[in-house]
């Protein structure tokens, strides 16, 4: 077979193209420290591109994370960051957003961070409709602490803390957040980078609490279960006629965890926490319009 001759690609030119496109504007000087092949690499591209495409200024974005491999993310992006405690992303993010509505707040965390230790906070962030974006990276395992079982580990999965296999039924996070009242719910897969990037952009653009569930293989501690190979076979796009304004239809899709449907499961527009706090202030007699006008000056 004779190889076809192509125009040579000069790295510097390519780099200049990338730079000019603005795609590097949100990358920090630190390179990610994840294992080669980890699904988390997809978020660096996905988030930085989305922030760029949405035309946001770096200093007006805050990335809040918990503790875990996924939560290392803020160090790799050039925005304000708060690497908080294990499980405490959402209340910290709520505080930030309550203090300053002009900030775009993106929360990043793992499945253990969100649904084990931090599980008590998700219902409240969702019901309050805090205008933040929650990117939950589900690898079905505790990566940072080197491979223990997580609330989303599947039955029969062997980990260092379930050496005889996990006998607990995994949670169904999407059904949970839907019933909690999240106003935007979506699912993506780290192996489908392009789709993931688009979903992150939509999630950030949504006004209200957006929850994006991202299936993301841990190549180091999971060789059998949530591997790229298995996931590539399992995932599917949501049916074309899926009605994202229908919460019950979303519930049904959310329940199909053996064949995860990728896309926007549910979205609705309703007042955010800040809208409600402003309404309270107005009924208490404060002149909120004057306050915002003053702030804008």
């Amino acid at each position: 077979m004779t190889a076809e001759l192509k125009e040579p690609v000069y790295l510097e030119e390519k780099l200049k193209d990338i730079q000019d496109s603005g795609r590097l504007d949100f990358r920090s000087g630190s390179l990610p420290t994840w294992c080669p092949g980890c699904g988390y690499y997809s978020m660096t591209e996905g988030v930085t591109n989305s922030l760029n495409e949405l035309g946001l200024k770096n200093e007006n974005v805050v990335c809040v994370s918990g503790i875990g491999c996924a939560s290392r993310f803020p160090f790799f992006v050039d925005v304000y960051g708060f690497h908080t405690l294990h499980g405490r992303t959402l209340p910290v993010a709520t505080g930030i957003k309550t203090a300053n509505d002009d900030l775009t707040v993106v929360v990043v965390g793992g499945d253990g961070d969100g649904f084990a230790i931090g599980g008590g906070h998700i219902p409240h962030a969702a019901k309050r409709n805090v205008d933040i974006t929650y990117l939950l990276f589900d690898n079905g395992i505790y990566g940072l602490t080197k491979g223990q079982t997580s609330p989303t580990s599947s039955m029969g999965f062997k980990t260092s803390t379930t050496p005889y296999e996990n006998r607990e039924q995994p949670l169904k996070p999407l059904m949970m957040v839907l019933s909690y009242g999240a106003s935007w719910v979506g699912q993506a897969y780290a192996g489908h980078q392009h789709h993931l990037a688009g979903m992150i952009k939509k999630a950030i653009a949504h006004r209200g609490f957006s929850y994006l569930h991202i299936l993301s293989p841990c190549v180091t501690f999971d060789k059998t279960d949530m591997t790229y190979q298995n996931m590539n076979m399992a995932v599917r796009p949501l049916p074309e006629d899926h009605d994202s304004s229908d919460q019950m239809a979303a519930m049904i899709e959310a329940g199909k965890t053996d064949a995860p449907g990728l896309g926007v499961l549910f979205e609705e527009i309703r007042p955010t926490l800040s809208d409600n706090l402003d309404a309270i202030a107005t009924s208490a007699g404060a002149d909120i319009k004057a306050k915002t006008a003053q702030a804008a000056e």
């Binding site: 200093e59 007006n60 304000y80 960051g81 405690l85 910290v92 709520t94 505080g95 926490l273």
Partner: protein, 597 residues
């Protein structure tokens, strides 16, 4: 001891539903309006329903005092079964006022008249009958009794009329009319009675230069927060801190500020820290169990150098403990709680005015030193009322932040830059040129995670040293000595609400000829070592009374300064008795202890 002519303590005692707390409230408002200094502490039953005991004690004085008196001058019984145990509180020639034909039939011994000491003056009145005659109902008994006290001691009738009208202004006009009629009927009766008591109330002191406000410890905290420009509040209800939150969620929205009830205390402080990171003044309030949940977050506030303000009103512990009882047993948790070396500022006001000042100063300090500041109250201080007079010129700094200086082009902003005072210029989200990530991991100047030995050692030192400036923070007295100057036989070191009883005991001891001084300590962490050492040097014996079992502050003082103190610890759930402190002073001074009268 008499203070500037007037010093009268009046206790109303009855069942929930007798209007006991209501008349106590009218009394303190009226006395404050008349220009006296007032301090008052009510006790409610722990249960919401039923006929539990209510006691409302009010001390009316010409000058500011710091505690309730051990002995009551006037006891009013609206329910003898509850009042009998309090009869022994009344001093010689003090008045005991009760109904001579009470609501229900009583056996001998159930009537308070059988429990009076010789020397106490009984006033058996037809309280119910007068109420029925004046208003057509027996529901005015409390007002008749209040009117009687006012008439007997010659208190200003018109001021009471004003306060009664104000209290019931949202109710139908008949309510004010009936309450006033009941009060007046009692007043006329009292004015006609002979006053055996040797103390009568003096004229109010010359009008204070500034307006007097009647505040509880918790409402003073709220005023302090508002005066300091609080922007965000997050809290989870818990006795005895709940009223702080209830007032803030009412008052803050009127000013366009945001207050929110969170799902738990971890979220409350997490959001407080989040808002602090975003650059606004934010706070939360809780009690011991909530503070225990917050401990991990306190460490984050320390490590990430993000300001936060936490009000803690202590109650009986450990665990759920005694929610409606007072105690000082969360000091160790406040000063040391959390993992690692997590130094923070802890302030403990000793009276209601101090609650206001510490609240405002907490925001200044949290911002200036980029650290958590805990303001430690207790149930006794949170719930007691005092007239507070502060000059309107006393204001809190609107901003105390050491702001980021934009980095020169090409240089990266260092959030945790080394500086002489250990305080690094701070950028907040939204500011261009200040982008950085804060973390609970140990980190370098830039905020990048690092576990190198030299970085951890340098940063630990930075976080420790920057707080040492707090003892010189302007506008707040962190220690103060009272009583005899120079060398003394006994020096009392006291903190929090127990300082009030300690001061009272110290003054009584001086009346007995014991050379004595007392020092209040308001800053519990970092410990103001120098003034405390000097005070201890001047005393033959140091006494440290506190309402906890093991002597938590005594442990900190003797551990830090390497010298012993005499501990006086008790956990009755009520304020410490002046007599108990006084006896301990006598003992340490080699005098005979005496039984309480």
């Amino acid at each position: 001891m008499t203070i500037n002519g007037t010093d009268l303590q009046i206790a109303f005692c009855g069942s929930a539903g007798d209007g006991t707390i209501a008349v106590g409230d009218i009394l303190k408002q009226a006395m404050a309006m008349a220009g006296y200094r007032v301090i008052a502490f009510d006790q409610y039953p722990a249960e919401i329903r039923g006929f539990g005991k209510c006691v409302s004690r009010t001390r009316v004085t010409g000058e500011q005092v710091y505690s309730m008196k051990q002995q009551t001058d006037i006891l009013v019984s609206l329910d003898d079964s509850h009042a009998i145990p309090h009869a022994s509180e009344v001093r010689d020639f003090g008045a005991v006022i009760y109904d001579n034909a009470p609501m229900s039939l009583m056996m001998e011994g159930e009537h308070i008249s059988g429990h009076l000491q010789p020397g106490q003056i009984p006033y058996a009145l037809p309280i119910r009958e007068i109420s029925e005659r004046a208003t057509g109902s027996n529901r005015g008994r409390n007002m008749v009794a209040l009117g009687f006290v006012a008439g007997l001691y010659g208190l200003q009738q018109d001021v009471f009329h004003t306060i009664i009208a104000r209290k019931f202004k949202t109710k139908p006009a008949a309510v004010t009319k009936d309450n006033t009629a009941a009060f007046d009927a009692g007043f006329d009766l009292g004015a006609g009675e002979f006053l055996f008591d040797e103390v009568s109330i003096g004229a109010p002191p010359a009008k204070a230069k500034h307006e007097a406000r009647m505040l509880s410890g918790n409402s003073a905290v709220v005023e302090g927060c508002l005066d300091a420009g609080i922007e965000a509040y997050f809290g989870y209800p818990i006795t005895p801190a709940t009223t702080i939150m209830e007032r803030l969620v009412t008052e803050m929205p009127k000013r366009g500020k945001r207050a929110l009830q969170t799902e738990d205390e971890i979220s409350a402080i997490a959001a407080t820290i989040g808002a602090g990171y975003a650059g606004v003044r934010s706070a939360t309030a809780t009690s011991g169990p909530g503070l225990a949940l917050m401990a991990e977050m306190l460490g984050l506030s320390v490590m990430a150098e993000v300001p936060s303000v936490i009000f803690v009103s202590q109650r009986g512990g450990p665990s759920t403990g005694m929610p409606t009882k007072t105690e000082q047993s969360d000091l160790n948790l406040a000063v040391f709680g959390g993992s690692g070396d997590a130094q923070r500022i802890v302030l403990a006001p000793t009276n209601v005015e101090g609650c206001w000042r510490c609240a405002g100063k907490a925001f200044e300090m949290a911002e200036r030193y980029q650290t958590p500041v805990i303001v430690l109250l207790d149930l006794y201080l949170s719930n007691r009322y005092e007239t507070v007079i502060v000059s309107p010129d006393e204001r809190f700094e609107a901003s105390s932040s050491k702001a980021m200086v934009p980095a020169k082009s090409g240089e990266k902003y260092q959030r945790f830059a080394k500086t002489d005072d250990g305080i690094s210029p701070r950028a907040i989200p939204g500011q261009a040129g200040g982008i950085h990530t804060v973390t609970g991991l140990e980190h370098n100047d830039l905020g990048r995670p690092s576990d190198q030995a030299n970085i951890h050692m340098d940063m630990s030192e930075k976080r420790h040293n920057k707080l040492s400036k707090a003892v010189d923070h302007p506008g707040i007295t962190i220690t103060k000595r009272f009583g005899d100057e120079g060398d003394v036989e006994v020096g009392i070191l006291a903190w929090g609400s127990t300082f009030g009883e300690s001061l009272e005991a110290m003054m009584l001891a001086r009346d007995e000829g014991i050379k004595c001084a007392a020092m209040k300590v308001v800053m519990m962490s970092p410990l103001p070592e120098q003034p405390i050492s000097e005070f201890m040097d001047s005393a033959n014996e140091v006494l440290l009374p506190e309402l906890n079992y093991e002597g938590q502050f005594a442990g900190i003082v003797s551990g830090t300064l390497g010298r012993p103190v005499n501990r006086l610890n008790m956990v009755p759930g009520t304020p410490m008795r002046v007599d108990d402190i006084l006896n301990e002073i006598r003992r340490l001074a080699g005098r005979e202890a005496k039984d309480a009268a």
